[in-house]
Amino acid sequence: MKQLLDKLSPIMRPELTGNAESPEIDNTAYLPDARQPLVTGENDNTTITDKVCQIVEQKPTVGWWMFFLLSLSVLGLLGVFIPFLIFWGVGTWGVNNPAGWGYAIVNFVFWVGIGHAGTLISAILFLFRQKWRTSINRAAEAMTIFAVICAGMFPGIHVGRAWFAYWMFPIPNQMELWPNFRSPLLWDVFAVGTYFTVSLLFWYMGMIPDLATLRDRAKHSVRKVAYGLLSLGWTGSNRHWHVYERAYLLLAALATPLVLSVHSVVSFDFAVSQVAGWHTTIFPPYFVAGAIFSGFAMVMTLLVPARQLFGLKDVITLKHLENMNKIIMLTGMLVGYAYAQEFFIAWYGGVKVEKFAFINRAFGQYAWAYWIMVSCNVLSPQIFWFKKMRTNITVMFIVSIFVNIGMWFERFVITVTSLANDYTPSAWDYYSPKLADVTILIGAFGLFFTLFALFCRFLPFIAMTEVRGVMAEKARLKSPPPQQGASDSASEDSAAGS
């Protein structure tokens, strides 16, 4: 890998002058002989630390309050409709006889997908030594956690008798019954469960040094205690750093296969069944690509406003966003390839029912959904071929929204169209959502954004130590002589460590 990057580096070598906001400079390129200026502007350890910590330390802005209260009120929808659902039964949803699965499963797959970017960025990019990840990984991981929380909610409430959902777990019981280990739904339980645990661990571990920084800077005693407890007595001693770095590496290694496994397993829910249009071998890679695609889009949706709001332009630079756009475009095309491939195989395979299923998708009663999906996922990212667009804040924000929509519809198309018209024409029917479907869909976003708002407010939004650790000499030289105190010893050690 390194050699490969070495070869590439001359091409990517930038001139290190000029305004960071201008797309001319590649401040995230890999420089074998120098530290890349990940952070732009006149920044040094202190400014970075201040920039990040002030988000937490200062009084929340009006903007934050508005965002938080809005999300909270949307979250309220869940508070109303989930009890309502549990009480009356899933009939309050639009699901019917041929289409036994509707919005609930669509949302589940959608959110699990979103949950991919975080770990991908933090784990895989870490292993590939992509230092530019440091500016965005913390937020991305947080997003992962919250997305998986949203996802995890759905299998629980989508079952007919939610109060028995725990039967899906292998718990010894007086019935002497175990779950059916041949069922993909059961695999889901484990896959998503593991993924959530590891991601949470990974996220929290990465945060410890920053929490320590916050602890040391904290004025209010409550904060002192809270951050104190959270930072587990981190002192930044050499030994701490040593253990920390190793554990981080191991967790990254552990998390990497999960990134690929989770959505593969989720795709089995469909691929293992025999419904025409579900029973396809392409699903695992196709789902993973889609997941990364949607994940990055969601990161984009969150970071673009966030860096504006919290004045982190220098840390989350335009170049970071551009890199992500490249990934979005790539994965978008992967997904497009998968769509094409499905049709090819349906034709090539010669199974009549299969063939019908796909033609029905594109031209049947759900054609509208299919074409929304295609235009959002395949067409809209193509705009990133142009650097101008790739680096245009507004454009990339809009595209990221499109991609989110498109990816939701992808799951809708897969789930619903195949079920609504499958083997027996006599059983065909049209699935359409009811009020409860829509409100719970929206409510999930409320939950997600509420959690994210709280994260911005109370936890370090950027992995300060990591950023400090990978800052270019230029910035470091400008920094005043080191002071005592955990926060700075941290940076020095990390420099030594890395």
Binding site: N96, W163, P179, S183, L419
Partner: protein, 1021 residues
């Protein structure tokens, strides 16, 4: 309600009330009784009681085991004080009784559970019928427990109705009995006891008169035979001998009163297709609207009802019936070509003796006369047909009878009008003034009926009648065999039967129904009266009591006089009024099972509609669900159109019995909403409004069709939202669907003597071609029984009796129109109806019953995360409700889509009476669990336990699922594949046998047998 308890305290129904004491004592007893039923699924926003909330929430805790100390509700055991002989708690007993419709009694066996009748099946011992039952017979048991039945006598008090008591009613009746000028308007019944009471009434009260009215009757048959023979006779057909059957607007297999006998006869010939010398019959159906018989027919010829007389004349001429010379056969108006008729005639002649022509009750008398003239000419009498004498031959035609009553009322000749079960206000055409006004003219009007219906509500008195399972009675089956009726339970609502009521009216000391029935039959008893009475009750009928048969009835000269007039038919569109396949004439309107039963032809539940031909609809730009305005003879009605292939383009078919809007009208007259209308109210459209006296006489009426305003949602269980060809990709999808339909329901063209080899090949070819099938899992091996089913499409008429039988046996809940429209019907068994062929106005019809196929490699089992649906050693696909958490994954993965999910709590707080109707052998499913056909595993198990207790092997046919038991054509065979001798093994080995979607390697246990269609072009030579 107290009256019930007092009453039942001293009646055979005791055990029942004891077992329900806890409810009977509870304060909400009455509210429960009046509670809406069935419990429709809740709307999106729905207020609910705290009690119910806790119940639902509590359920989780209770089922999960509950906290130490807090136990589930305590249950009481209430034994008899002295147990009746041979009665063991929880052991079902069945009694013979009879069920009646259209003046014809069908012998039934009623299964009673601890004193609660829960099933009605056919009485197999009965000389004139098989052990099968129609959907209406099956559903009648729900009618018994209908909380909507009227529960006490009521009478008019100003513009209110007040509940009275039977004591008061009895006084009133006795008083009424003293007056002369009594008129009775009765629904016609075949009961001897009733006719005895009629005679006594006419004798006792000088100026009294007995009128009869039924909206659907067989008068034209009586008149037709009268034209021919000088006296009305009853043609008793034997379809098991009819190689060629021509139906002129007749529906012998469904709406005909003898449909059960016909079906088994027709099927016995049909299913001979597997014999070594196969002999097939051919059915020609000439009809205006698609009937069940028409669907099963080999050749179907659409024609206006009005034009069929012309066709009959031609057919008669062509078969050599000597007609009055001056008749110029005119069929110019019909689309029926001469050579089609000649073909029919040739077919009839070539099978002279083994042929039969039947005319439908919509046809004018002369068509019946012609039909029987043909039959006699071709020597059918004594082979496929016999003519039986009938009682009170002098009776007027129904329409003339009530016309007469109307006149007498206007003339003031009626002081007391006693209405026994008839409902003229709803179903009789107005006689210058409406029946409401006419009844108002009568000083004292009394109505006896099960329901407080339209007529009850305008009468001065309404007396609550009995359900047939509550009363003593008798009746005559189609061939006249006397069939007895004994009560299975004391009247739930303290009702009285017609004969008991008349006895109160006439006698100083009213007699009980039992005594009346016994007295009228006494004469037929042998030396030991008690012995013969007991044996009659045991059998349910009296042997050799059929009506006398005239083996060679003499044809009267000049019978053809009426032909000329019958041929003078108006041009243009016509409307015909059809007996509804579920509600018949509307009497079952409050029966949830029948309301929810998809119509065999249209597949519509909870509605009736105007059936219109595709070409006609296209020309008018009408789609299914559009409202159309029908106007006929100054009457108008707006109804939703249903585009039905096979409908004759110039005929609009409308079924009767819907649109009960009494609650609206009642708002003016009554202080409360009458109970009947809890289910029936506002369902469908009242097509009686269009039916004038002339229409009743002629059987059709000229109509003009116009586009109405707006559209209307019809709840169909098939083609909910059909993907129409024009909607995308040209016709690819259409062909795709057609191709697959061809695979599922395979049809083979065959001559009278089909060649097994050919048939086998074409059945094979119809299937998809696929590579060798390998299973991913280790396949089960079966060392014990291997239960399996085969369904013979060749004899399935789609009558849907099996669907209701299944519903009754397995406590399947009714979900209501909205949910059905949403695709959430609960029927475990559905009957797919497919049209095939080029001509959309007259395609061929195939019915395919579809239920859980009990796959050996069941896709549903593998995906259930909690193992709630698993395979058992006998190959059954067990569905464990109490383990199911409702992921619905199994249903998604089922290629047949035969699993049903409880989206709501469909059995929430059933009324007391509803509870009584449940089958205790089957778990009541809660909200949020999946359910499906189990091959009636409860029956399999109880038979196995019985056999093992007796240390013997199960015999073939000992285990019979409800559907197989009730099927009128024995299309369903069930048994053990492990037994090489069993019938199911034979059928599954048959050359017609195939498995649906076998290419998926799910290895279904249910096999289908291809349909053979005996088309004329298949004839050899």
């Amino acid at each position: 309600m107290s009256s019930i308890k007092n009453k039942t305290g001293s009646k055979p129904g005791q055990a029942l009330w004891r077992s329900l004491d806890e409810y009977a004592d509870s304060p909400e007893f009455r509210t429960l009784i009046e509670k809406e039923f069935p419990n429709h699924a809740p709307e999106l926003f729905h207020s609910t009681s705290r009690r119910h909330f806790l119940k639902v929430m509590g359920a989780s805790v209770a089922l999960a085991g509950g906290l130490a100390g807090c136990r589930w509700p305590q249950q009481q055991i209430l034994p008899h004080t002295s147990r009746p002989e041979g009665r063991a708690p929880g052991v079902p007993v069945s009694y013979a009784s009879c069920w009646e419709q259209q003046e014809v009694a069908e012998g039934v066996l009623v299964t009673s559970y601890d004193g609660r009748p829960i099933r009605v099946d056919g009485n197999g011992d009965h000389p004139f019928q098989s052990g099968s039952a129609t959907s209406q017979m099956q559903a009648s048991v729900l009618g018994l427990y209908d909380p909507g039945r009227s529960s006490a006598p009521t009478h008019r008090d100003g513009d209110h109705r007040v509940s009275g008591s039977w004591e008061a009613a009895a006084e009133m009746l006795a008083e009424a009995g003293k007056s002369d000028k009594v008129a009775v308007l009765a629904a016609p019944k075949s009961s001897l006891a009733l006719s005895m009471m009629r005679k006594r009434l006419l004798r006792k009260i000088p100026n009294s008169r007995w009128h009869e009215w039924a909206p659907l009757h067989r008068d034209s048959e009586r008149q037709g035979t009268a034209q021919l023979f000088g006296r009305p006779m009853r043609p008793v057909a034997d379809l098991s001998a009819a190689r060629v059957l021509v139906c002129l607007d007749a529906d012998p297999l469904m709406t005909h009163p003898a449909s059960l006998a016909h079906s088994s006869g027709w099927a016995s010939l049909r299913s001979s297709a597997d014999d070594d010398e196969p002999v097939l019959s051919r059915v020609w159906a000439v009809e205006s609207s698609l009937s069940v018989t028409g669907g099963a027919a080999d050749v179907r010829i659409p024609a206006r009802t009005a034009d069929i007389a012309g066709i009959a004349v031609q057919l008669a001429a062509a078969t050599g019936v000597s007609l009055p010379s001056d008749i110029a056969p005119i069929v110019s108006a019909t689309q029926v070509t001469d050579e089609q008729i000649l073909q029919m005639a040739a077919d009839l002649k070539s099978h002279a003796g083994n042929c039969l022509v039947m005319a439908g009750d919509r046809q004018p008398p002369v068509v019946h006369a012609l039909a029987h003239a043909i039959n006699i000419g071709l020597g059918a009498v004594g082979k496929t047909l016999r003519f039986a004498e009938i009682e009170n031959a002098e009776r007027l035609a129904h329409i003339d009878d009530i016309a007469l009553l109307a006149d007498r009322i206007r003339a003031g000749e009626v002081e007391t009008l006693l209405i026994l079960g008839a409902n003229p206000v709803y179903d009789a055409p107005a006689m210058n003034e409406s029946w409401q006004q006419l009844i108002d003219r009568v000083p004292l009007s009394i109505h006896l009926g099960e329901y407080e219906d339209e007529t009850a509500e305008v009468c001065d008195w309404h007396l609550n009648g009995t359900h047939f399972l509550e009363e003593w009675g008798d009746g005559r089956s189609w061939d006249g065999t006397i069939t007895l009726r004994q009560p299975l339970i004391a009247p739930l609502y303290d009702g009285r039967s017609s004969i008991e009521t008349l006895s109160i009216l006439l006698d100083e000391k009213p007699q009980s129904g039992h005594d009346l029935v016994r007295s009228v039959l006494e004469s037929r008893a042998g030396s030991d009266k008690d012995a013969s009475w007991r044996s009659w009750l045991h059998d349910g009928f009296i042997r050799d009591s059929a009506n006398a048969v005239d083996s060679a009835p003499a044809i009267r000269g000049g019978w053809g006089a009426a032909i000329e007039s019958a041929l003078q038919v108006p041009e243009g569109d016509e409307i015909v009024f059809l007996a509804d396949h579920s509600l018949f004439d509307g009497r079952y309107a409050n029966n949830g099972w029948l309301q929810e039963l998809p119509d065999p032809v249209t597949k519509i539940a909870w509605d009736n509609c105007a059936q219109i031909a595709p070409s006609k609809a296209a020309s008018m730009g009408i789609k299914t669900g559009d409202m159309i305005r029908l106007s006929s003879g100054g009457r108008e009605l707006e109804m939703p159109a249903f585009v039905l292939p096979c409908q004759n383009p110039r005929t609009i078919g409308v079924s009767l019995g819907y649109g009960r809007l009494l609650s609206d009208r009642a708002a003016g007259r009554l202080s409360r909403k009458p109970s009947l209308y809890q289910i029936a109210d506002g369902v469908g459209f009242d097509s009686y409004q269009l039916r004038s006296s002339e229409a009743v006489r002629a059987g059709y009426a000229p109509v003009s069709v116009a586009r109405g305003s707006g559209t209307y949602q019809l709840a169909t269980t098939q083609d909910h939202n059909p993907v129409r060809p024009e909607e995308f990709m040209g016709d690819l999808e259409f062909n795709e669907e057609q191709r697959r339909v061809g695979e599922f329901a395979r049809v083979v063209g065959a001559g009278f003597t089909p060649d097994h080899q050919q048939v086998a090949e074409s059945v094979e070819d119809a299937g998809p071609h696929h590579p060798d099938l390998k299973s991913l899992w280790k396949e089960h091996e079966y060392k014990s029984h291997r239960w399996a089913m085969s369904i013979d499409l060749n004899v399935c008429t789609g009558c849907s009796a099996c669907v209701v039988a299944c519903q009754a046996e397995n406590n399947i809940s009714v979900v209501g129109k909205d949910e059905v429209a949403y695709g959430r019907e609960m029927h475990w068994m559905r009957i797919d109806r497919y049209f095939s062929g080029e001509d959309v106005d007259n395609p061929e019809v195939v019915h395919q019953p579809l239920t859980c196929n009990q796959c050996e490699n069941a896709p549903c089992e593998q995906v259930c995360p909690v193992a709630a649906t698993v395979h058992n050693e006998e190959g059954l696909n067990d569905m464990v409700y109490n383990r199911c958490i409702g992921t619905r994954y199994c249903s998604n993965n089922c290629p047949y889509k035969v699993r049903r999910f409880n989206y709501f709590n469909n059995t929430k707080s059933p009324s007391v009476t509803e509870k009584m109707g449940y089958n205790p052998e089957v778990t009541i499913r809660s909200r949020g669990v999946m359910e499906k056909c189990t091959y009636c595993v409860q029956r399999i198990n109880s038979s196995k336990i019985r056999a093992n207790n007796e240390r013997r092997k199960l015999t073939d046919g000992e285990v019979l699922p409800a559907c197989a038991q009730t099927c009128p054509t024995n299309a369903i065979t069930f048994g053990d594949l492990a037994d090489p001798e069993s019938r199911v093994t034979a059928t599954q080995k048959s050359h017609r046998s195939y498995k649906m979607l076998a290419e998926l390697n799910v290895k279904p246990r249910t096999g289908y047998m291809a349909k053979l269609r005996n088309r004329p072009d298949q004839d050899e030579g």
